[in-house]
C-alpha cells in the first residue's frame, strides 16, 4: 500500500522540540508496520530543505544528510511532464488559485503515480476540495 508523506510530517519528525515530533514519529512507525510504503516527491524534498535551512534550524550538512536518508526510506516521485499535464487538468477542474497551486501539484503527482492516501497535519489544504481523488490521513 502506498502513502504520500507530506512535508510538514518530515519537519516535525526531525524537530525533537516540536509538540508534534512524537506523533509524527509514531504515525510513521505505525503506518510502516501496517504495510504502507512511504512516498514523497521532489517537491517535498525542496520544501523540507527550505523549512529547515531558512533560519538554520539544522546545519546544511544535516539537511543534506536528511534529504539523502529521505530518498532511501521512501519512494521519490519525480515531477515529470505527465505530472504537469495532470496539474493543468486539476487547476481547471478545481478552480485552483494562488498558493493552492502548490498543494494541487502534490495531488497531481499522487494522481499520476496512483498514490491515493496522504499523511499531513494540514488536512484543510486537501479536503474537502480533493475528496474523491484522495484520502487524507490526519497526523492527530
Amino acid at each position: 500500500m502506498k502513502i504520500f508523506i507530506d512535508t510538514n510530517i518530515w519537519v516535525y519528525q526531525t524537530n525533537a522540540n516540536s509538540i508534534f515530533h512524537a506523533a509524527a514519529t509514531q504515525k510513521l512507525i505505525d503506518l510502516q508496520a501496517n504495510g504502507f510504503i512511504f512516498h514523497i516527491s521532489t517537491q517535498v524534498l525542496r520544501e523540507y530543505a527550505k523549512a529547515t535551512t531558512l533560519e538554520a534550524f539544522l546545519t546544511h550538512s544535516q539537511v543534506q544528510a536528511n534529504m539523502s536518508r529521505m530518498r532511501l526510506i521512501t519512494v521519490v516521485l519525480e515531477e515529470t511532464q505527465p505530472v504537469t499535464v495532470e496539474l493543468e487538468k486539476l487547476i481547471g477542474r478545481f478552480n485552483v488559485k494562488g498558493k493552492s497551486v502548490y498543494d494541487c501539484n502534490i495531488v497531481a503527482t499522487m494522481q499520476h503515480y496512483s498514490v491515493d492516501t496522504i499523511l499531513t497535519h494540514n488536512v484543510k489544504d486537501f479536503t474537502p476540495r480533493y475528496d474523491g481523488l484522495l484520502t487524507v490521513l490526519p497526523l492527530l
Binding site: 523549512a51 544535516q62 503515480y113
Partner: protein, 70 residues
C-alpha cells in the same frame, strides 16, 4: 524457462506491442511500480534531529511559499 512459458511470454509481449501508446505507458508504469526497489525501513533514528522553537508553524504551503512563489 520452459517452452510453454517462453511461448506465453512472447504472446503477452506481442499483445503489449499491439496496444495504443497511452495504454502501453500505463502498463509500463504498473510494471515499473511493481518491480521497483522497496525503500529501506524507517526507524526513529533514520533522520538527524534538531531542536528548535517552531512557534506553532504548520508548514503548510501557504507558509512555505511567499507571494512570489519562493
Amino acid at each position: 524457462m520452459t517452452a510453454i512459458e517462453k511461448q506465453t511470454t512472447e504472446a503477452i509481449y506481442n499483445m503489449y506491442l499491439a496496444l495504443p501508446d497511452e495504454v502501453k505507458m500505463e502498463v509500463k508504469r504498473l510494471i515499473d511500480d511493481a518491480v521497483s526497489v522497496r525503500p529501506e525501513p524507517f526507524t526513529v533514528d533514520s533522520l538527524i534531529k534538531g531542536n528548535w522553537n517552531d512557534e506553532g508553524k504548520t508548514y503548510s504551503r501557504d507558509e512555505l511559499y511567499d507571494d512570489n512563489g519562493r
